[in-house]
């Protein structure tokens, strides 16, 4: 298994995530897609750490931080999405377009 295999994998994941963000309308699904992007990051980080500079833990540290931050982010996002649901009775972000132009 070469580095670029992993890179391809993460790139694919990254792309899928972006696609999800662009294609999905439901806030939760968008959040999920963002999670995909973050996981692509994690994979890359670990891979680079393992392949390029073994011995240092930078990649792993990055991964851990990303996971933590992502968790917090999801929590916060969920809370706000709840507010959206409260005020608009929907989680569809397209209906939240009162501000434009």
């Amino acid at each position: 298994m070469e580095l670029y295999h992993v890179e391809m994998l993460s790139a694919a994941l990254f792309a899928i995530g972006i696609y999800g963000v662009l294609a999905r309308r439901n806030a939760v699904m968008i959040l999920m897609s963002i999670e995909l992007v973050l996981n692509a990051v994690n994979i890359n980080a670990v891979a680079y750490a393992a392949f390029l500079d073994p011995g240092r833990l930078v990649g792993q540290v990055i991964t851990i931080f990303v996971i933590t931050v992502a968790a917090a982010e999801v929590g916060l996002a969920m809370a706000i999405i709840l507010r959206l649901y409260r005020t608009r009775a929907t989680a569809n972000v397209d209906e939240a377009d009162s501000m434009k132009w």
């Binding site: 968008i30 990051v41 930078v58 507010r83 972000v93 009162s98």
Partner: protein
């Protein structure tokens, strides 16, 4: 392989701000609702105290903790001071608004303080992951604050757009960081510089990494085309928070960007300066042109600050001692001016609850002070003399010209000419058009806002009349991140 002796005592300011935030959280429990203003005063006084402590404590201190992760130097100090000042001003300006429109003041002020902490860290971080973390901290605070008007649909919409896009952008940013890590095997600015010194051409990883980095930071700075969240968030967020986002997050973002590009990416400047220049031109033109078509004053200011970002990016594109001075000078002038105009508008909004440009008709007779304040600040934003904007723009554009970016400076001048047009439309409403029927009543401004706006306007004028002290401070700050040229080698007579 960390050194054993880490000078944690140098982090006192950060600790104190964080502590202050938690003090507010706890104090919130023990106060009856009508006494909540105490929280604001406590945090302001606390910030002032920390400010007073920090300046002498860290002045000319030059150290880097966790081998280069976290910097303590005049540059960081400058932005720490600036962030705390901005935070204090915003808190002061918020008081009446909070009482009138918002709930949960405790969280409000505490989170504000945390965001100040985040800003301080962003300016100080010397490594990508640290930068990312502090950036996320700031973002989280802003996500919450922008949605703080719970019952307000717009506020909520703003925060949902903000957080989703913010998360997305941080995804991009992270991917970029990791690519860079993969390409250079490091995430610290200093080592990146050393690496870039070594190579003659950049490979795909590096390219994608840098692009994603620029994209992610572009989102924070609200540079076109990563700016699209800005107008909606500005419009939806509570007025003081709009001011805070417009000023604070930009200051922090540029603090980070400037340090990153100066300490990390300077060796590859030929690679990216054209891109940044293009981004800058695009940003300033788009922002100002679209602002022409706005009818909501907050939205108009949002686009105008997007345009301002274009000016600031110019300083990055022409990165040199002179231009980073210019960037920071303009950043300061921009912050002061924007705070002035936003809180003048806040005062207006507190009374009338209106924020369309047309609603400002006849303000000159309803409240001469507000009208004058808004006029002066807008003229300053447009870069007219005797006001901060004139000097700072002149400085920034001169710097760009000095780095052979005269064409960009020309574009910037045209852009600020366009901006003058829509600023004048507001001034026309206030001075020339009479107030709509039944709205001729004079506007009473609370003494606090009166004083705050007054002080801000005065400092706008002072900055415009005699900027030399500020410029000197900034030169010291720049000397740290760009040791290449200090004022003496700048060929000054």
């Amino acid at each position: 392989m960390m050194e054993a002796d880490v000078h944690f005592e140098l982090l006192w300011p950060e600790f104190l701000v964080a502590g202050l935030a938690f003090v507010i959280f706890t104090l919130d429990f023990f106060l009856r609702p009508e006494r909540k203003n105490i929280l604001a005063w406590v945090s302001v006084i606390g910030l002032a105290g920390i400010l007073a402590f920090t300046i002498p404590y860290l002045l000319d201190e030059n150290d880097s903790l966790f081998n280069g992760l976290y910097r303590i130097d005049d540059y960081a100090l400058f932005f720490k001071v600036l962030s705390m000042a901005i935070g204090g001003v915003v808190i002061l300006g918020s008081i009446h608004y909070v009482n009138r429109y918002l709930t949960h003041p405790g969280e409000y002020y505490a989170i504000l303080l945390l965001s100040v902490l985040a800003m301080m860290m962003m300016a100080a971080s010397g490594e990508l992951l640290t930068a990312y973390l502090s950036l996320e901290l700031l973002s989280f605070c802003l996500y919450i604050l922008s949605g703080f008007a719970l019952q307000n649909k717009k506020s909520n919409e703003a925060s949902i757009k903000y957080i989703l896009l913010g998360a997305f952008s941080s995804g991009l940013l992270l991917y970029g960081i990791v690519m860079l890590y993969g390409a250079m095997g490091t995430t610290s600015f200093a080592e990146m510089a050393i690496f870039l010194e070594g190579i003659e051409d950049i490979d795909g990883r590096l390219l994608i990494g840098l692009t994603l980095l620029i994209a992610g930071l572009g989102f924070k700075m609200a540079a076109v085309p990563f700016h699209m969240w800005a107008p909606d968030v500005y419009e939806g967020a509570p007025m003081p928070i709009t001011a805070y986002i417009a000023v604070g997050s930009k200051v922090a973002a540029f603090a980070l960007v400037l340090r990153l590009f100066a300490e990390g990416l300077l060796p590859a400047i030929e690679q990216w300066n054209v891109l940044i220049a293009g981004l800058a031109a695009l940003t300033m033109l788009f922002g100002n042109l679209v602002a022409l078509a706005q009818t909501n004053v907050k939205r108009m200011l949002a686009y105008s600050s997007v345009g301002q970002v274009g000016f600031l990016l110019m300083g990055v594109a022409a990165l040199s001692t002179l231009s980073s001075n210019g960037l920071m000078v303009h950043l300061v002038g921009y912050s002061v001016t924007n705070l002035a105009v936003f809180f003048a508008i806040t005062a207006f909004y507190n009374v009338t609850g209106k924020e369309e440009i047309a609603d400002f008709a006849g303000l000159a007779s309803r409240s001469p002070f507000l009208a004058a304040a808004i006029t002066i600040s807008l003229f300053s934003l447009a870069g007219l003399p005797f006001l901060a904007g004139f000097v700072t723009k002149f400085y920034l554009f001169s710097a760009a010209a000095a780095e052979d970016l005269l064409w960009l400076a020309g574009v910037a001048m045209v852009a600020s000419l366009i901006s003058l047009y829509y600023y004048l439309k507001v001034i026309r409403e206030m001075y020339i058009n009479p107030a709509a029927d039944g709205e001729g009543s004079t506007i009473q401004i609370p003494g606090l806002l009166y004083g705050l706006v007054g002080i801000l306007v005065i400092s706008v004028i002072l900055l415009g009349v005699y900027p030399d002290p500020v410029v000197n401070m900034i030169e010291d700050a720049t000397a740290v991140i760009l040791p290449g040229g200090d004022a003496s080698t700048l060929n000054l007579r």
